[in-house]
């Protein structure tokens, strides 16, 4: 967590100055994560101390040097900023505050150093923030953490200053107080460096400064804002989060936090800080910071500590410490902080975690003000001072970010992903209990050693608290995200099928758990003891085997269920409806043939491609030659047309049912056929359909009866299956399920939004339940031109585990391929029908809540009519008793289903988890992506029950609670102003914010009601991989592709700041894909890719990449294709030219930025969260 931050910072720093040290730190971070973390924390503390101001960063980054000073400066700086911002850009601040300027000055220095440092590392953050100030300053100070210096002044200076300081703090704000101003400005350095320079490390100290600079502006927006956009930022925060970010609150608090400085701070983060800061910190901060010994720290390892630690390895904290003596030791940090209190700590502390703490503090300021970072910093710093010990801590932790945190100093998903990819690619063995799997973004091969592939099952935590209290305390939900039929890598083996004949699966007699590798055989193999409930069950004679000397069955390795985490059993009649073995499933293709459908080319397209792309690719059993799936065809408008395509017929027969009030299936024989037996008739049908309806004039389409008809058909044929419905418009035909147009986009984002996001009638919900009981899944492909009430229609998809696709303004020639790809993909990925999922857990815990697209008629069985490889459900597990630490916790997911060939089977996934009694263990073994996945689904549910505000606040509260818990229980004590993030969760604030900003959850009026509902529907069934990409889109630069490369270039953080005018970027989130073209992009590039002379000539209505024979074109298409291949849906490519009308839409996906609808930027959010945490801690 923190470490990460640190890490980032660290990096920065290391580079910069402490290079060595810090660097070490960095390196450390990554590697040593686990251990480190604590260290980090510790470090942060220290760092903070120093940091408080830039110092920290300094320290961190710069290593000791900066450290101290930075701190000083930092805090102050922050404050200043804080204040400043509100008013105006950093500069302004200065002016405003008399002191500020100086501070600024100081800042600069601090930053300067930082920056210098930064350059290498994270100076960015800091610098960025500091920006303004820094610019100039940076260089100078760079080295030193003078920032600190800045601090002092700051503090002293004015409230403003303080805020400022913070910023600078980082920088090395430590630097002399005088610096402060500069520090804050520290920005200056940053400025210079701005983005680059100190970014990370300083992030903290420097942060502020940087911000001031342009870059920072973004991030910190706030602070910088002052200079740049700060004010706004702040505003952003405040507003968005409610945080109080508002300059107002912010400031005051800050001041408090920092003490006076806090004030300034306050400006920044006010809210958050306020409390803490105000309290002690306030003045102290200032003082503190300076003393923060930022210098010291800085001196020490300076940047290192904080930065390093943070970065280094956050965990590596270790390194950091190493880096700095003080820091080096975890303890140190810990201590440091306290001891260092400010100064001292600062120095050292910084080392430690510098990051967080520093970051935080700085951040805080920054943040608040403009950005969170600052806050932190300040907060910390200030606080630190106030409380000697504490401060230290804080700084360490967050420090980095300074006021306006430099975005680069804030935990970066890109970095996290990259680190994980670097460290964990390859083979992942599931042998160990409770091993956290690699991230979903990492390519790895799973070797099933008794626990299932994480592709099937991921948990939010792999170390489960033993008690309910502990779990509650952590606020981390214990949730599983289950994709029972996830697609595996080609190198991985599908779960083997075990056929025990009439014996059927062997199960525990009491809890009915299925045989699995964790069952313990006793009595010489005659009985086995259930790992879930402890009951002993006799082994059926047919299943008996002797045990070897270790107590294992001799046939352990011959039986998948005794050695693997995932396998399938062939079910017996007892597992079938009415004890009759099922028939092969069926697909019914139901095509809207109304005027609209014909006109947009849909009918033609489907009929033309259905056979080639779909029917020939029906899913089949692995190894089977042909698909057993039955297919049937229906068209409809105002009435329903069924087709008899019996092979014996000379031509297809159409049976029209026009009694839509009471629909029924007019035929049995010849409706469901297999492709080979009726191929010619189907061919002729598909030729006929477009002709028959070419002059369709039908505009009133029905939908309810269509679904009823499909359901009836499946029922009467006694098959499970899917309906594929291709529908164009709101069903206004006079029939059951008729919907009225109730669209009112104005309601979105208001408390009344749930009225239009919930189904308008119960019809589809009830129908959905009927479908469920018949094993009929409904997939709807929508091709609307206008509102068609996705909220209502999607309900049936939700209940029946169906998918929904939406192609607005569909035109066959433009969107046809996309639709067909999706369709094909969908059909091929179908794996299970008429399924029931049951989750069993060890005694002491049990599944209590289920989220996703399915239906439950009781509290334990999840009924899913169909499961494809992309579908996931989330299950929350809670304690109903205690777990025993030594025994661990087990989860078994059993899916009873009908396979694509009509075989009734059970797929079993087992997962073993560890238990823990220490929160630290819990926090060390968390899986953030799964957490976010769960959180988003939970938010979707809230959307329909609560007001948007409550939903949003719930997420923020959760985020703050988790972090606060960590802070309180796991992190070494530090200043309250410091933001300390656990390594595994350091992206939590970012992702949390992304969830909040997501269109599906907080969509405002800028998207249509249907889109909103559609996204909600999608989100609800996302697996971890999809949600990960969905909430934090991938941004890939295309303009500088290496033509010879074959892999995807590394992604960038989603922020407008990162886009260059001469660049071209690909952005995708699994649902949409954009190519953004800067206005001064190389025309040659355009020519090569789009074969037009300038971006202006690209026909953005026809977004297709031409197949041009040149390397760039090849490479670009290759990238696009690779990206598409990774996603479940074929994303529509939209081309956005810089500054043209689509750009705002594109910007919408730059999730680190402030949203158009007032949603918080990353920085703002971080500040707010920090404030919340502080509130909680107090």
């Amino acid at each position: 967590m923190n470490p990460q931050y640190h890490g980032q910072y660290g990096q920065g720093p290391p580079v910069g100055q402490g290079g060595p040290v810090s660097s070490a730190g960095y390196g450390g971070p990554a590697p040593g994560p686990p251990g480190p973390r604590p260290m980090y924390n510790g470090q942060p503390m220290q760092g903070q101390g120093q940091f408080a101001g830039p110092g920290k960063q300094m320290p961190v980054q710069n290593g000791p040097q900066m450290g101290p000073p930075s701190n000083m400066g930092g805090p102050q700086g922050d404050l200043q900023y804080g204040q400043a911002r509100p008013p105006g850009p950093g500069p302004n601040q200065f002016p405003q505050r008399g002191p500020a300027p100086p501070g600024g000055m100081g800042g600069p220095r601090g930053p300067g150093p930082n920056p210098s440092m930064m350059p290498g590392q994270g100076p960015n953050q800091l610098n960025a923030q500091m920006g303004n100030m820094n610019i100039s300053g940076p260089p100078t100070r760079g080295p030193s953490q003078p920032t600190m210096g800045g601090m002092p002044p700051m503090g002293s200076s004015t409230g403003m200053t303080p805020g400022y300081n913070t910023a600078p703090v980082i920088g090395g704000g430590s630097g002399p107080p005088s610096n402060l101003p500069p520090n804050s400005l520290g920005g200056p350095p940053t400025g210079s460096n701005t983005g680059m320079p100190g970014p990370r490390p300083h992030g903290m100290g420097g942060m502020m400064p940087p911000r001031s600079t342009p870059q920072p502006s973004n991030t910190y927006g706030g602070p910088p804002s002052s200079s740049q956009g700060l004010p706004p930022t702040t505003g952003g925060y405040g507003q968005p989060n409610s945080m109080a970010t508002g300059p107002l609150g912010g400031q005051p608090p800050i001041s408090s936090s920092y003490g006076q400085p806090p004030v300034s701070m306050g400006g920044m983060q006010q809210p958050g800080f306020p409390p803490p800061p105000s309290s002690s910190s306030g003045p102290p901060n200032m003082g503190m910071q300076p003393p923060g010994g930022m210098p010291p720290p800085s001196s020490t390892s300076q940047g290192n500590f904080p930065p390093t630690s943070s970065y280094g390895g956050p965990q590596p904290g270790g390194p950091i410490p190493g880096g700095f003596p003080p820091t080096s030791n975890m303890a140190a940090p810990g201590f440091n902080q306290p001891p260092t209190g400010f100064p001292p700590m600062g120095g050292q502390t910084p080392v430690s975690q510098g990051f967080q703490s520093p970051g935080s503090q700085d951040m805080s300021h920054g943040q608040y003000g403009g950005n969170q970072p600052p806050q932190f910093n300040q907060g910390f710093p200030a606080p630190q001072p106030g409380r000697p010990g504490m401060p230290g801590m804080q700084p360490a932790s967050m420090q980095q970010p300074q006021k306006r945190l430099d975005p680069d100093q804030m935990p970066s998903p890109i970095q996290v992903i990259q680190d994980d990819r670097n460290n964990r690619s390859g083979t992942f063995s599931t042998a160990g209990k409770g091993v956290v799997p690699p991230l979903v973004t990492t390519q790895f091969i799973t070797s099933d050693q008794g626990s299932c592939n994480p592709a099937f099952l991921r948990s939010t935590m792999y170390n489960v608290p033993c008690t309910s209290d502990m779990l509650k305390n952590s606020h981390i939900p214990f949730a599983l995200t289950i994709s029972p039929f996830a697609k595996l890598q080609t190198e991985e083996h599908p779960p083997p099928i075990v056929n025990l004949g009439e014996l059927g699966p062997v199960r525990c007699k009491r809890c009915k758990a299925y045989m699995n590798p964790n069952m313990m055989f006793i009595d010489g193999g005659r009985r086995f003891q259930c790992v879930f409930c402890g009951a002993a069950t006799d082994v059926p004679d047919a299943y008996f085997a002797h045990l070897d000397h270790t107590g294992r069955r001799v046939d352990s390795y011959d039986r998948p269920e005794l050695c693997l985490g995932s396998y399938e059993f062939v079910a017996t009649k007892d597992y079938c409806k009415d004890s009759i073995l099922p028939n092969a499933p069926a697909f019914i293709f139901m095509i809207d043939v109304s005027y609209k459908a014909v006109k947009c080319g849909l009918v033609n397209l489907i009929c033309e491609r259905l056979k080639k792309d779909i029917l020939l690719n029906l899913p089949k059993e692995i190894g089977a030659e042909k698909s057993e799936i039955r297919v049937a065809f229906v068209t409809y408008g105002k009435e329903i047309h069924f087709y008899n395509v019996k092979g014996a017929l000379a031509q297809p027969q159409m049976l029209v049912v026009s009694d839509v009030d009471d629909v029924f299936v007019p035929l049995l024989d010849g409706f469901f056929v297999t492709l080979e037996e009726s191929e010619s008739v189907i061919d002729s049908l598909l030729t006929q359909i477009p002709q028959m309806f070419s002059d369709s004039r039908e505009t009133e389409v029905i939908l309810g009866p269509v679904i009823q008809a499909g359901l009836d058909a499946l029922k009467s044929a006694d098959r499970a299956g899917k309906l594929y419905i291709f529908h164009t418009s709101l069903p206004i035909g006079e029939a059951p399920g008729k919907l009225k147009n109730r669209d009112d986009r104005k309601l979105l984002g208001t408390d009344k939004e749930k009225t239009i996001l919930s189904p308008q009638s119960k019809f589809y919900s009830q129908l959905g339940q009927e479908c469920v009981s018949a094993g009929c899944s409904v997939d709807v492909f929508l091709f609307p031109d206008t509102y068609c009430d996705v909220a209502t229609i999607s309900d049936i998809c939700r209940l029946t585990s169906g998918n929904m696709y939406k192609y607005s303004y569909f035109q066959a020639d433009l969107d046809g391929d996309r639709f067909i790809e999706d369709f094909k993909n969908n059909v091929q990925s179908q794996r299970a029908f008429d399924a029931i999922v049951r989750v069993r857990t060890s005694q002491g815990i049990r599944p209590v809540d289920f989220l996703g697209n399915f239906y439950m008629s009781n509290t334990t069985d999840v009924e899913m009519c169909a499961i494809d490889s992309n579908q996931a459900i989330s299950v929350e597990i809670k304690h109903d008793d205690k777990l025993k630490e030594q025994e661990g916790a087990f989860v078994q997911v059993a899916v009873l289903f009908t396979s694509v060939s009509g075989q009734r089977r059970l797929r079993i996934h087992n997962l073993s988890l560890n238990c823990c009694t220490q929160l630290a263990d819990l926090f060390r073994n968390c899986e953030l992506d799964t957490f976010i996945n769960y959180m988003s689904k939970y938010a979707i549910r809230n959307t329909l029950n609560k007001s948007p505000r409550e939903t949003r606040e719930h997420i923020m509260t959760e985020v703050a609670n988790v972090l606060a818990c960590y802070r309180k229980n796991c992190a070494s004590p530090s200043s309250a102003g410091q933001l300390i993030l656990p390594e595994c969760m350091k992206l939590l604030p970012l992702y949390g914010n992304c969830v909040i900003k997501s269109d599906g959850i907080q969509g405002g009026q800028d998207i249509s009601t249907d889109d909103r509902s559609y996204l909600m529907h999608l989100t609800n069934a996302m697996d971890v991989k999809s949600s990960c990409a969905f909430f934090y889109p991938r941004l890939i630069p295309l303009h500088d592709l290496d033509p010879s490369g074959t892999t995807l270039p590394s992604a960038m953080r989603c922020s407008a700041e990162r886009l260059q005018d001469n660049g071209v970027y690909l952005l995708e989130n699994g649902v949409s894909m954009f190519i953004w073209i800067g206005h001064s992009v190389d025309p040659d590039w355009i020519q090569k890719v789009f074969s037009v002379q300038s971006a202006a000539q690209i026909d953005i209505d026809k977004c297709r990449l031409h197949e041009l024979e040149n390397e760039i074109s090849h490479r670009v298409r290759d990238v696009v294709n690779q990206v598409r291949a990774q996603r479940n849906r074929y994303m529509k490519l939209t081309i956005v030219r810089q500054r043209d009308k689509l750009e705002p839409w594109f910007n919408h996906f730059l999730v680190e930025d402030k949203g158009q609808n007032g949603s918080a930027s990353y920085v703002d959010f971080l500040c707010h969260i920090h404030k919340e945490i502080r509130n909680l801690l107090n």
Partner: protein, 773 residues
């Protein structure tokens, strides 16, 4: 005119009319004392190839309340060019085109021999007839194949411009769109849900705007388009329809063991009616329903799905133990009324071993004048030839069917019409000719017959309204005019006018005149129709009692006997057969339900209700011919005494043709004497009844069941059940005394022996009557 016999025959030949009384009692009171009501059997479109084609419109009486048509009985003033109406005495000028009229130059309608004349209304549009096939697909493959072939064959018999449509049904009802290329198309309806015309119209997307767009040609054509999808000219779709029929499979829905197939006859028919109703109202159209079993679901359901519950029997009906019957009848009656009011005919071809619900569905045919055919299987010549005969043509190669007829009766003042019995519905039109009392469908002077064929005969009943003390009406004659407007199978609109006149006689003084004019055959048929009509609503025994009473009263009134001497009883010649007819009627399947299913009863009654006098008499009293070496074939008494070992009997009951070989003949035949050259005469003897039977088979519609049996054969029961069991019970009477005496004795014996079953009152009544005799 020599005899009444000849007079009657002549009138029948010319006008298609037979009256029960050919001299009418001149007062109401006298008329009621005649016992047998004054009635007429009128065959509206009796084949009259000799009629001149009249291509102009009839001349009507100008009195608005009269509107009678100029006829030979009108007095014509050739000089003044004026004619006076014989019904209302209105003097009417001839229309201008009659200016050239003189005594020598008369228009056909006033020439006496053209008391029946037919006008063709040329300005009326000629809509081609519509044939809508409604086919049950729940049958054996053999049956289905047979019916498919019959239908395919019928396509070639239809006029090419006729419109044809196809509905098939089983569990579902499918309305086929004809003439689709590449993909056959049909609309499917649930078999359990009744739909009204409006719903059908909506569901089929037809008839939209039919009300809004009256008259404009183009629009009309567009309107027709949708319906044309279902009803297409034969010449356009015969290929596709042939293919469609060829591909028809039996209903694919599985039938569980112990269940009947689900058949939605009620809905199918409802859709057919609804479709025609909204596409071709008031145009000649036939719905031809082919069903292979009873309706088992939905409205019109006759029997449940479970085989263990058999279809209702007369016994159940009596006990009021049939849960579906009333509802079903209501359904079908409703449909029949709708079809009738739109001028559409419903034919029912029912072939199954078990009952199919004709009892419930009888209204469909009765109200619309449709055919009702009952057989065992579609795969029999009975059905195949019957069906073929539906499309038989006359000498002018025009179909022997007509559509949408309206029959109006006008009477002179002393007479009023009190009702009609036959395949028609009342149009509820009041006029001065309508009597207060009702017989059959009364209260109207107009009836509608949606479908009729040359044999179709209606029974009309009249009431004399002259008061007892009033003088014999002026001129001494009463007049009745039957005006039938109908759509000829060629599509022409025609009007046939029959005007009849009969003398009045004062019964109190001239009873012998009146009794001489008695037509016992017509009277028997009229009584039979009346009895059957009553039987539909009344209790069976009540009807029999009523018949008995009427007979006894007639005997009392017109018999000639000495009190206390049974043997002295005599009837005049023209009454002599009447008791026999009544006797056979009493024990016929029309009134006796024992051993018949409700379906059979309905079927038999239906035929009696339609057929003309001759055929009706055969139904009432089967004809029995004897063939032997002793002479030429001769008619013999329908009596057990006629069964002789050395005779071959040929019995025609209308519904069955039975050839019965006497014991000896049968033995000879078994020994193959007929194959020996020296027994050529035996061969001829065997062949003779067969040839005669063939002759009957050729012309009869529906085709009778042909039974070839011999003494002791199981099928001999068909004969034995019909003959009069004299030999076993009647020895006490003078067997073989012949003539009317025998008959009446039989009747009397029969009445007495059976009346023990009746209540004491009846018994005493009958005994007292016997004493009278």
């Amino acid at each position: 005119m020599a005899t009444y016999q000849e007079f009657i025959q002549q009138n029948e030949d010319r006008d298609g009319v037979r009256f029960s009384w050919n001299v009418w009692p001149s007062s109401r009171l006298e008329a009621t004392r005649m016992v047998v009501p004054l009635g007429a059997l009128y065959t509206p479109i009796k084949e009259r190839p000799d009629l001149p084609p009249i291509q102009y419109d009839p001349v009507l009486c100008t009195r608005p309340t009269c509107r009678a048509i100029l006829n030979p009985y009108c007095q014509v003033d050739y000089r003044a060019k004026i004619w006076s109406c014989n019904f209302c005495f209105q003097r009417n000028p001839f229309p201008p085109q009659y200016a050239a009229i003189t005594e020598q130059h008369q228009p056909a309608e006033i020439i006496p021999q053209f008391s029946t004349i037919e006008y063709t209304i040329t300005r009326a549009t000629c809509a081609p007839p519509v044939y809508l096939i409604v086919l049950d697909t729940c049958m054996d493959d053999d049956d289905l194949q047979a019916v498919k072939e019959s239908l395919q064959m019928s396509l070639s018999l239809l006029p090419p411009n006729a419109l044809i449509g196809l509905i098939t049904y089983g569990k579902m009802v499918q309305l086929h769109e004809l003439g689709c290329e590449g993909c056959s198309k049909s609309y499917v309806f649930r078999g359990t849900k009744d739909l009204n015309a409006k719903q059908i119209q909506d569901m089929l997307g037809i008839g939209k705007g039919a009300t809004s767009a009256q008259g404009r040609g183009q629009q009309q054509q567009q309107q027709q388009l949708p319906s044309n999808r279902f009803l297409q000219p034969v010449h356009k779709c015969d290929f596709s329809l042939t293919d469609l029929l060829g591909e028809l499979q039996r209903d694919p829905w599985p039938v569980a063991q112990g269940k009947r197939p689900l058949r939605s006859t009620g809905v199918a028919l409802s859709i057919a009616v609804g479709l025609l109703e909204c596409t071709f109202p008031n145009t000649g159209a036939r719905i031809m329903l082919f069903m292979g079993g009873a309706c088992t679901q939905g409205p019109g359901m006759v029997v449940g799905e479970e085989l263990k519950f058999p279809i209702r029997s007369h016994h159940d009906i009596e006990k009021d133990n049939c849960k579906y019957m009333k509802k079903a009848m209501k359904h079908y009656e409703g449909l029949a009324n709708r079809a009738a009011s739109n001028g559409h005919v419903i034919d029912i071809y029912s072939c199954a071993l078990d009952q199919t619900g004709l009892h419930e569905m009888k209204f469909c045919s009765r109200y619309t004048g449709g055919h009702m055919v009952m057989g065992d299987s579609f795969n029999t010549s009975l059905f195949k030839q019957t069906f073929q005969r539906v499309f038989s043509k006359d000498a002018k190669s025009e179909f022997k069917m007509a559509f949408g007829a309206t029959l109006e009766v006008k009477t002179s003042r002393e007479l009023k019409v009190s009702g009609a019995i036959g395949p028609c519905v009342s149009l509820g039109v009041k006029s001065s000719s309508v009597a207060d009392t009702e017989m059959g469908l009364g209260g109207t002077c107009q009836w509608k017959m949606c479908g009729l064929y040359p044999n179709t005969t209606l029974a009309f009943f009249f009431e004399v309204v002259n008061q007892h003390n009033a003088p014999i009406p002026q001129g001494g004659r009463g007049y009745i005019q039957f005006i039938s407007q109908y759509q000829h199978s060629s599509g022409q609109r025609r009007v046939r006018v029959t005007t009849v006149a009969r003398n009045w006689a004062d019964a109190s003084t001239n009873i012998q005149h009146i009794s001489a004019g008695f037509d016992q055959e017509a009277a028997a048929v009229l009584m039979a129709r009346t009895a059957v009509f009553r039987a539909e609503t009344d209790d069976g025994p009540d009807v029999l009692r009523w018949l008995d009473r009427m007979l006894i009263r007639l005997c009392q009134k017109f018999g000639d006997y000495h009190r206390d001497d049974q043997n002295s009883f005599r009837f005049s010649e023209n009454f002599s057969l009447y008791p026999q007819f009544m006797f056979h009627l009493r024990r016929s399947q029309f009134l006796q339900v024992f051993n018949n299913s409700p379906d059979e009863t309905s079927y038999y009654r239906h035929m009696l209700n339609i057929e003309d006098l001759t055929q009706s008499l055969i139904m009432i009293q089967p004809i029995l011919y004897a063939y032997s070496f002793s002479g030429t074939p001769e008619p013999v008494l329908l009596d057990t005494s006629s069964i002789q070992p050395d005779r071959i009997l040929l019995m025609d009951t209308f519904f069955q043709i039975v050839i019965y070989h006497g014991e000896t003949i049968s033995q000879w035949r078994q020994q193959k004497y007929q194959d020996l050259p020296e027994y050529e005469n035996f061969k001829q003897l065997l062949q003779a009844p067969v040839d005669d039977a063939q002759e009957i088979l050729q012309t009869r519609f529906p085709m009778p069941r042909y039974i070839d049996t011999e003494a002791g054969g199981s099928q001999a029961r068909f004969l034995l059940s019909r003959v009069n069991p004299t030999q076993t019970h009647n020895n006490m009477y003078a067997y073989g005394s012949g003539g009317a005496g025998v008959s009446i004795y039989i009747v009397i014996w029969w009445l007495s022996s059976h009346s023990v079953l009746f209540s004491n009152i009846i018994m005493s009544f009958i005994y007292s009557n016997i004493c009278l005799l």
